[in-house]
């Protein structure tokens, strides 16, 4: 009952015209991000950070969250129409979505995807409403040793963030931690590792790093890749109605996908992608006609699309209640929070309940808006796909540079953003995903403060630090993850060595 009252309070916050406008803009941009291949959620949020300075904190957070969950709605459009996933989480949608389009059922696939996304997202947000506050309440008992353990476990687990090489991810995380220590030390006030450059006293600004590595890096990647213009089918409103049979087959996978997505979303890593594959596998197993999968089975669209949307809502639970980003996108979302002086975690819920509940209420509204936007306007989004990348990318490049300059009116930021962009381009090409680097930059300071303060509190007794009940539980989880990673890596590398592939 208390939660319902708080949610109603949140609703009054999210229905303020400025916040409602921010939510609408966020979900529209999110949908576009999902629809347009070559632009991803992380880059978009990074690019829009400077724009958010003129907005109120709550409105900015609502907009960023809208971009984040809205992007998963749009991701299915290109998967179904072009066999090109707009998002990693929509890869599996290609398997049956595109064959459906080839059979002339693109409209039905798109509408089932949108409705499934809505149902599952709502399941996810209900879960967020119920589970985030108690988790944050439990986290209020945390002291520096617990925060150190939490940050350390977060970093350990997040080395699996991208699904690529764990070693490379660890390298990126440690580089992120190193970058995070540059500048004024918050504990002693000493200027560290600035090499005499006064601009580095304020440290590496998270938004500049993100805009460079993700924004400019992405622009370089897309502009230097050979592309062919897509041929698109035309979608009319009457094509969007699924048949009774299609409905009957879609509804159970939507709910199952919603539950799977929510559970997977509570785990660190690329939850939206993993949950979509898990849902697809489950639907195939439960199907009476598994042979239809890959040929245009509607369950293969409904389940995975529901799962990836639900997972996105679930990843907001650790972010909002513990301040832990469990994915690259939530890491950049966290940076958006921090730029506005808001630190997610237990304090957010107790000290700024209006903002917290306003954000959650906006997600309910945002999902309704996404359903309204996605169904009738699908034709418009299909037309958007015709926007040539050779026009779009230069505009995004100028937007990024202008946005970066506007943060501090600093030319050195522009130099840094270009350097970061080139670095980001080469990192991606060599399999070093930049997401974990951002995690390191964000969690590094928490790790340091927890470690230093924890050691001082415990008189340098590390054993006392790690045997506190919550710390030991968290560190045990971390140790198990390391053990699992090490074992699976050894098995894979042995297999590769036997095969002699290099």
């Amino acid at each position: 009952m208390e939660i319902l009252d708080l949610l109603l309070q949140g609703l009054s916050v999210s229905l303020v015209p400025a916040n409602l406008m921010a939510c609408t803009i966020g979900v529209i941009i999110g949908t576009l991000v999902g629809v347009l291949p070559g632009i991803d959620t992380i880059s978009t949020i990074a690019l829009l950070l400077p724009f958010s300075y003129t907005m109120g904190s709550t409105a900015a957070l609502i907009m960023f969250a809208g971009i984040y969950y809205g992007s998963k709605y749009g991701g299915s459009t290109t998967s179904i129409l072009l066999n090109v996933p707009g998002e990693a989480a929509s890869v599996v949608t290609c398997l049956d979505g595109y064959p459906m389009a080839q059979r002339g059922r693109a409209g039905a696939a798109l509408s089932v995807s949108a409705i499934g996304s809505f149902i599952a997202s709502t399941i996810g947000v209900i879960g967020l409403t119920l589970f985030a506050p108690p988790l944050a309440q439990a986290a209020l008992a945390f002291g520096p040793p617990e925060y150190f353990a939490l940050a350390l476990v977060g970093i350990i687990i997040l080395t699996n963030l991208t699904g690529t090489s764990t070693l490379k991810s660890m390298m990126m995380v440690s580089t992120g931690i190193m970058l995070g220590t540059v500048g004024l030390d918050s504990l002693s006030g000493i200027s560290r590792l600035t090499m005499g450059v006064p601009e580095l006293d304020r440290g590496f600004e998270l938004s500049i790093l993100a805009m460079g590595i993700f924004g400019i890096g992405e622009i370089l990647t897309v502009m230097t890749k050979p592309t062919t213009p897509p041929t698109l089918p035309s979608i009319k409103l009457r094509d969007l109605y699924p048949t009774k049979e299609e409905w009957r087959r879609s509804v159970p996978p939507m709910f199952r996908g919603g539950v799977i997505g929510f559970l997977v979303g509570l785990l660190p890593g690329p939850a939206a992608t993993i949950s979509s594959f898990a849902s697809y596998a489950m639907e195939k197993r439960l199907s009476k006609n598994p042979a239809e999968f890959g040929q245009g089975a509607i369950e293969g669209v409904a389940g995975p699309e529901a799962a990836n949307n639900s997972a996105v809502s679930a990843t907001m639970i650790p972010l909002l209640s513990l301040g832990l980003p469990f994915s690259g996108a939530t890491a950049i979302l966290l940076s958006g929070f921090m730029i506005h002086g808001i630190t997610p975690g237990p304090a957010l819920i107790t000290e700024q309940p209006g903002m917290f509940w306003g954000l959650i209420a906006s997600m309910y509204i945002g999902n309704i808006l996404l359903l309204i936007i996605n169904l009738p306007l699908i034709g418009v989004f299909v037309q958007m796909l015709k926007t040539p990348l050779n026009i779009l990318m230069p505009l995004i490049a100028l937007l990024t540079l202008t946005g970066a300059y506007s943060i501090n009116n600093s030319m050195s930021d522009l130099v840094l953003i270009v350097i970061c962009g080139i670095i980001g381009f080469f990192l991606r090409r060599t399999g070093f995903e930049p997401g974990p680097l951002l995690i390191g930059v964000i969690l590094g300071p928490s790790l340091e403060q927890g470690l230093v303060r924890g050691l001082i509190i415990c008189d340098g007794d590390i054993w006392a630090m790690i045997t506190r009940p919550i710390s030991s539980l968290l560190l045990t989880i971390g140790a198990l993850v390391i053990l699992y990673n090490l074992t699976s890596w050894l098995i894979k590398s042995n297999k590769r060595r036997r095969e002699g592939s290099c």
Binding site: M170, M171, R192, M223, N390, A397, V418, L427, R429, S493
Partner: protein, 140 residues
């Protein structure tokens, strides 16, 4: 090969970082100072880079699939970015943005001249109005 070069860059960067961290006070285990975590992070970076080099050498890691890249375009885009930053304070935002956009449109194979010039002109003015007036950013 590219992977190895990037890993070597990480090794070099971590070594330089650790050298810098050595200049800071490490403190003791019961009273850590500002150099405590930087020293540990630098050391971890070096160890990880060495392990990665060994893993690459022994072919224990999965080879990375690389997309085709038009390196000529890559160099031209970088030149465009550098020139934009260089001339921004000299010729001002509006002119720099117009030249930068027009240049990138042509690098990205936008056909003809009328459309790129019109697009570059109108977009640079729109950006100038949005940032300079609406967002009240002091543009050069």
């Amino acid at each position: 090969m590219a992977e190895r070069i990037v890993t070597l860059c990480f090794l070099l960067g971590s070594s330089i970082y650790l050298f810098g961290a050595q200049q800071l006070t490490f403190g003791t285990i019961d009273s850590p100072k500002s150099g405590f975590l930087p020293n540990l992070a630098g050391l971890a970076g070096i160890v990880l880079a060495i392990v990665l080099l060994i893993v690459n050498r022994q072919c224990l890691s999965k080879p990375v699939k690389q997309d085709m890249v038009d390196w000529t375009k890559f160099i031209f885009v970088i030149i465009g970015l550098i020139v934009y930053i260089t001339v921004l304070n000299i010729i001002g935002y509006l002119a720099a943005a117009f030249i930068f956009l027009l240049y990138l449109f042509k690098v990205a194979d936008t056909g003809g001249w009328l459309v790129p010039v019109a697009m570059a002109g109108s977009c640079s003015v729109i950006f100038y109005l949005v940032f300079g007036y609406y967002l009240a950013v002091t543009l050069p």
